[in-house]
Symmetry: C2
Subunit: 161 residues, 2 copies
């Protein structure tokens, strides 16, 4: 099976999480007129009594086609990836709930000015990058223990260009 990317839009991504982007969002003028604030693009969700943390992931590029073997999810907390670069990258997801079949997997390609915030429980592949080493700011809760589920996909699902 082959999974081909579709463009990342807020409407299409709505079942999986928020798209972090300023395009098409309203802003407020703050800081004596020196700034536009695009507020509340996404909410960070953590379990009661646990705070979110900020991390940086430095990822090496993969080559396409790339075999998607395993998905994971974090049932207790959201997870946001914001690129510290301006190149498109694929976001591989499947709906929260039962471990997904390969046919349920969707791939969205960012436009270079977008990040994502995954809702708790949304299945996803670990963050893929293209072309070159890429840094991301990650906002989540520690992913160990009860906040990590993993699922090996049936058959062969290839991410194509």
């Amino acid at each position: 099976m082959i999974a081909r990317p579709e463009p990342l839009t807020r409407a299409a991504f709505q079942p999986f999480g928020e798209v972090l982007e300023t395009a098409g969002r309203k802003s407020a003028t703050i800081n004596q007129g020196y700034a536009q604030k695009f507020a509340d693009l996404a909410r960070v969700e953590t379990p009661a009594g646990r705070q979110a943390q900020l991390s940086v992931y430095r990822s090496q590029p993969v080559s396409l086609p790339f075999l998607l073997q395993e998905l994971e999810c974090h049932p207790l907390a959201s997870q946001a990836f914001f690129p510290l670069h301006s190149r498109p990258f694929p976001v591989v997801v499947a709906p929260a709930g039962e471990p997904p079949r390969p046919t349920a997997v969707r791939v969205f390609m960012t436009n270079g000015r977008q990040g994502v915030n995954l809702h708790p429980g949304v299945w996803h592949h670990w963050q893929l990058s293209l072309d070159r080493e890429s840094d991301y700011l990650v906002i989540d809760c520690e992913g160990a223990g009860a906040n990590l589920r993993q699922h090996r996909l049936e058959g062969e699902l290839w991410l194509a260009a």
Copy 2:
């Protein structure tokens, strides 16, 4: 009075918050060897029952010297600024607690690869940018009501180059 920037280092900034940077930080290998995770560079602090939010601030540059007139602080929550650009910018802070005198104000200049996470209650000027329009990813709690204090500085404090 004139405030001159000093380089932003984790040691010097420790009373005010965390420096978000990978330099000099340990990382773990994750994602089948495809990524280095610089985990937990900072904790997001929010009041019980309130979640953090992700926003983008798009700020216009100021010219130096710039008159620093007012500081603010958020007693209930941390506030992180991560640049979505790679140019130095000044971070103007004063210790948490009583409204500060101008002599307590310190200015740190980032190196282009650093963000900051301000501890709750740390006084700061609204985010300043230099040279050109600059975007920042901001992780905080809504700053209104009991989570916002403002203080007009006595005299004239100029931020110099």
